[in-house]
Amino acid sequence: MEAYIIDGYRSAVGKAPRGSLRFTRPDDLAAAVIKHLVSSVEGLTEDLIDDVIVGNATPEAEQGLNIGRILSLMSLNTDKVPGMTVNRYCSSGLETIAIAKAKIEAGMADCIIAGGVETMSPIPFGGWRIVPNYELAKEHADYYWGMGLTAEEVAKKYKVSREDQDEFGMNSHRKAAQAISEGRFKSQIAPIEVEEIFVDQNEKKQSRTYIFDTDEGVRPNTSMEALAQLRPVFSAKGSVTAGNASQTSDGAAFVLVMSERLLKQLGLNPKARMHSYAVAGVPPRIMGIGPVEAIPKALKQAGLKQDDMDVIELNEAFASQSLAVIRELGLNPEKVNPNGGAIALGHPLGCTGAKLTVQALAELDRQNKRFGMVTMCVGTGQGAAGIFERL
């Protein structure tokens, strides 16, 4: 039984921790996107949905207590639809789509909402309480390294210069600014209504509401000179700066995955299908190189070649690792991140896989092309890649 992607939406991405989505909890944010998705599919009734699978890289605090289940309750007008949370760090949002596909193809479900959410505004990177295993830490402290330090290690090992990283960062901003000014993201974004309740200067309680529907991390006017001014943040002798690393962000994105049977029953036109999904491990200290292992694996599963890909959404966790991956695999830079990446648009960890899927499918539409890939490095030494075909 084939599984198809019917449609998908994402929120615009807010900057964390001081951006426009900071007043919106992750459950409220994700529920708004899911509601938007469900209402956009004609003829879909809630009782047809078998599961809500939510990717999240820090499933605690506001995102804890199995946010997947909370979301199925909050987004759908029924308590009959269950929900689960999946964590594979930065590929969580892609992983959930693969799980949905696998479940449907195995005949275990017909209709699944899959995607991810992450709000980094209220929750610190890595969570509130990090407790490394002491015995493991003695031998392998690098398993617990911060991501920035792994990016430095990749820069060093693959000889990616500071200048190249800055240039990559600048281009990300330029492409993203261009995409936004042309309105390329408009149709994929579920607008979010934000309400802020606060105390004003006179200690009077006030509230304001606004619609958030445009990615806010982009700096259209950044320059090599400005980027060169920034100091390394992860290492005293490093090259990774706030200007050539992804931004911390708030965002949510979901797709609807459906079996061929239900699709036909409802008379819907599928948008795409996922051909393959592969995850691979690499040494944790060079985490960023993960896609170099995952991409060939996913291509092989799909029986496709790198050149068959028309659009590649490569998550820009860091410019250093993005460039290392592009160079190692010889990816065509023209096809990589045509609308900019996480350096400009942000990286809401557990949401990113689903967000990039939504973006890739929309870009294939725009270019009227067939194959797209979503790939990313994943914490503690992993890489993930998923291949989609636009229908």
């Binding site: 002491y134 402290a141 290492s235 005293a236 490093g238």
Partner: protein, 799 residues
């Protein structure tokens, strides 16, 4: 009704105004800082489309001034968050807010008509009975109150702060004939207890007291440099810590103060004091005139008597000015026999005596300088003050001299001082001549710890107000009840004794520890409480490193183990005794000094206390109970439901990053002082008095030896974080591998070792871990290198 200050307004946000406002913030008083409205927009404001009516523009001058003050170093605020206590505004929109202020301080441009127009406006809004004072240093107070109301005049006087007001301890109060005596009494008390200053009431004479004398001293030195052919570097060698003055001596101090400011005061005196017998001293030497013309005003213009540059190899280099050519040259220190001979005298008075006998150019300088100084101060009585001791007080507090001119004169001997002046062709005032011929030819007299001054040639009178303080210098000779080579026990009266450290830089060595034991024993037996404090430059810079180095270098671990155990036992004795032990600390209180404080029943800290467990800098962990104590404080801070690891991390990093507080207030934030238990004296001179009061209070409340409580340690849970954190810091080049090793050892101690679950252990268990870790680090070559480097250079080595 007693006057209370809840809120002050400072008008004029220049260097002095902003910093005065910040100092009120420091002491917990809200400050409203006001300045004028700008007349023109900046380019930036234009580009932002702002008009002159925009509040951001209208407060720009004051906000910019405050911002630059907040950036200045040393910091104007005890801690950054106090900036919310300073509100800003402009005199057109916000002057009416002064109606809520209890004290308005005017610190605007030094021009009579401007000040008068400010007062006219102030009079419209000020609350009747509120204080209004000026920070002027140049305009006679009596001119300023013309045309003002009676209430204004009654509540008006000069309050002359010294820059930077947080750090310089002098407040000159200059009453006008109309100032009410209540107001004067109020400032005498408020300036001392609240603002932490030495308050000196001055006559309304040009430059008042401190600047009149201090600037004479500087100008005289300027002239002597030229006439004796001494270089800038040489003069600063001769006029710094060697004679009990600031390390920055004469020329470096001038650079910091700003030559324009100095010249302003000197010219002010020249113009206003035509009958001053030393008028020629206030004339600018020609090199100074040229420097002012060329804008070489000191640090603010990037060059003065010194200039910072970089050598060809990129090293920082400080060049000194050649006073003849006005070119900058490499600094070259000279060898003076006089310095070599005088350095042997620890006692500053005796050292002065030796200095003026010098046979070289340095001796010549000192003779000429002190002759002029003695002559000058003698003639200033009664012109600038009726009581000569105020000159000593003002110069010591305002210019940071360890001894005032009359104290130095006493040390040299009245007759010798008179002869010194006469040999230089100078006269001394008649009252000094008379005093020299009296039965007791000295300016001061110390009888049983009470210091009095020569009111005239016949009688001595106690120095007013001095009884409010305890000066160990005053009582040392009469009240010492016990001493060994490094410490002494002094009876403070009322059942409280004080242990004073007397070791070099007040380091904690064998005899200091023995002194602590003896002091506690003595207090337990025969007194109500013990204070451990001193009035040296710093409370203590830590353990005696030389001793540790010797034992470690010889790898004499039994000896070392014994020494560390003794240290730990002594610290524990401070806490677990049958008598209240209060530590009175000030200025630098590092390493072992901090460890002792951590174990006290209470600490009385000067607001200017710089505390920290800095042992990482010498390659070890705190071994005198400091590591244990931070673990204990972490444990005690825990509340149900806390994320323990995060609190642990903060306690760990206080040691791991060798954090040093920049004030006593900040020491609370670092967990080195504790609110409710430890207290701050804004006035450093009050630390011992306040510590004594605290000890008495503890005794009166019924003091019982504390019971040892178990300490919660995290075991493996905490160790994992330590290991990952330390390794990451090495991998990101922030710390060295040796730092990593020390961090792991510290983590081991603070977590109680690799216990499977968080557990409760005794203090002794932690002390044993701490000692073991300390000793093992002393066996490391890199630790020895660090200790040696610190001993030789006074700076930490990062190897």
């Amino acid at each position: 009704m007693q006057r209370k200050i809840r809120k002050v307004a400072v008008i004029g946000s220049g260097v002095m105004g902003s910093r005065i406002a910040c100092h009120f913030a420091n002491i917990g008083v809200e400050a409203l800082l006001l300045d004028i409205v700008p007349r023109e927009l900046t380019d930036k404001e234009k580009s932002q489309g702002l008009s002159l009516e925009h509040p951001k523009v209208r407060n720009r001058i004051v906000n910019d001034a405050l911002a630059s003050t907040l950036k200045s170093n040393p910091a104007a605020l005890y801690k950054k968050s106090f900036k919310s206590r300073v509100q800003t505004g402009n005199i057109e929109d916000d002057l009416s807010k002064i109606k809520d202020c209890d004290w308005v301080i005017e610190a605007v441009t030094e021009r009579l008509e401007i000040k008068q127009s400010v007062y006219q406006e102030v009079e419209k809004h000020r609350k009747p009975g509120s204080l209004i004072t000026t920070n002027t240093s140049g305009i006679p107070i009596s001119w300023l109150i013309k045309a003002r109301s009676e209430d204004f005049q009654k509540n008006f006087c000069g309050t002359h702060f010294f820059n930077p007001p947080r750090y310089l301890n002098l407040l000159e109060i200059i009453p006008s004939p109309k100032t009410s005596s209540d107001v004067l009494d109020f400032f005498l008390d408020y300036g001392d207890r609240y603002l932490g200053k030495t308050v000196v009431v001055c006559k309304d004479t040009p430059a008042f007291i401190a600047n009149r004398i201090g600037v004479l001293g500087i100008m005289n030195t300027f002239h002597l440099a030229k006439t004796l052919g001494l270089t800038v570097t040489e003069i600063d060698q001769l006029t710094g810590t060697l004679i009990g003055r600031a390390k920055s001596a004469t020329f470096r101090t001038s650079d910091v103060v700003g030559l324009d400011t100095l010249v302003h005061v000197a010219n002010g005196v020249s113009q206003a004091c035509k009958n001053d017998e030393a008028l020629d001293q206030f004339k600018l030497p020609s090199y100074l005139e040229k420097m002012v013309e060329k804008g070489m005003l000191g640090s603010k213009t990037g060059m003065g008597f010194y200039k910072k540059t970089k050598s060809d190899s990129g090293q920082k280099l400080i060049l000194a000015l050649n006073l003849d050519t006005l070119e900058y040259e490499n600094q070259e220190k000279s060898k003076f026999d006089t310095i070599g001979q005088a350095k042997g005298f620890e006692d500053l008075g005796k050292r002065h005596k030796a200095l003026i006998k010098g046979k070289d150019k340095a001796g010549e300088f000192y003779r000429a300088h002190f002759a002029q100084l003695f002559s000058y101060v003698s003639h200033r009585v009664p012109e600038i003050t009726d009581e000569f001791y105020k000159i000593d007080q003002a110069v010591k507090a305002g210019f940071g001299w360890e001894m005032g001119p009359f104290e130095i004169w006493d040390a040299i001997g009245l007759d010798s001082g008179i002869k010194l002046a006469k040999d230089q062709g100078l006269s001394v005032a008649e009252w000094v001549e008379k005093l020299a011929k009296s039965e007791q030819p000295s300016f001061y007299k110390n009888e049983g710890g009470e210091v009095s001054f020569a009111k005239d040639s016949e009688s001595f009178t106690p120095i007013p107000g001095r009884d409010k303080f305890i000066y160990l210098n005053d009582i040392r000779s009469s009240k010492t009840i016990w001493s060994n080579s490094e410490s002494a026990l002094i009876d403070l009266g009322d059942g409280i004794i004080n242990l004073e450290f007397r070791s070099k830089m007040n380091t904690l060595g064998g005899d200091v520890l023995a002194g602590i034991h003896h002091a506690i024993e003595t207090a337990e037996k025969s007194y109500d409480g013990l204070v451990i404090s001193n009035q040296g430059k710093n409370f203590s810079v830590g353990a005696n490193l030389g001793m540790i180095f010797m034992m470690a270098a010889e790898q004499d671990f039994d000896e070392l183990n014994f020494a560390v155990k003794t240290f730990q036992d002594t610290m524990m004795r401070i806490r677990y005794s049958d008598t209240p032990v209060v530590l009175g600390i000030h200025q630098m209180c590092l390493g072992g000094g901090t460890e002792a404080s951590l174990h006290a029943d209470a600490v009385q800290a000067s607001a200017e206390t710089y505390m920290g467990l800095v042992e990482f800098g010498v390659g070890v962990i705190p071994g005198g109970g400091g590591s244990k104590e931070m673990a204990k404080r972490f444990s005690e801070s825990l509340q149900d439901g806390d994320i323990e690891l995060n609190r642990f991390r903060n306690a760990f990093l206080t040691i791991g990053q060798a954090k040093v507080s920049t004030s006593a207030e900040e020491a609370y934030d670092l967990g080195l002082l504790q609110k409710g238990k430890d207290r701050i004296s804004i006035n450093q001179d009050r630390v011992i008095v306040d510590a004594k009061a605290k000890a008495l209070e503890l005794a009166r409340m019924g003091y019982t030896r504390p019971i040892q409580e178990k300490v919660r340690v995290l075991g493996r849970q905490g160790l994992g974080v330590v290991y990952v954190g330390a390794e990451s810091m090495v991998s990101s080049h922030y710390i060295s591998e040796h730092d990593q090793k020390i961090s792991q050892k510290l983590g081991w101690v603070m977590c109680g070792g690799d216990l499977s679950e968080p557990s409760y252990v005794s203090e002794q268990y932690l002390l044993d871990l701490e000692r073991e870790a300390f000793l093992s680090l002393c066996g490391e070559r890199k630790t020895l290198e660090r200790i040696q480097h610190m001993i030789q250079t006074g700076k930490p080595l990062r190897n």
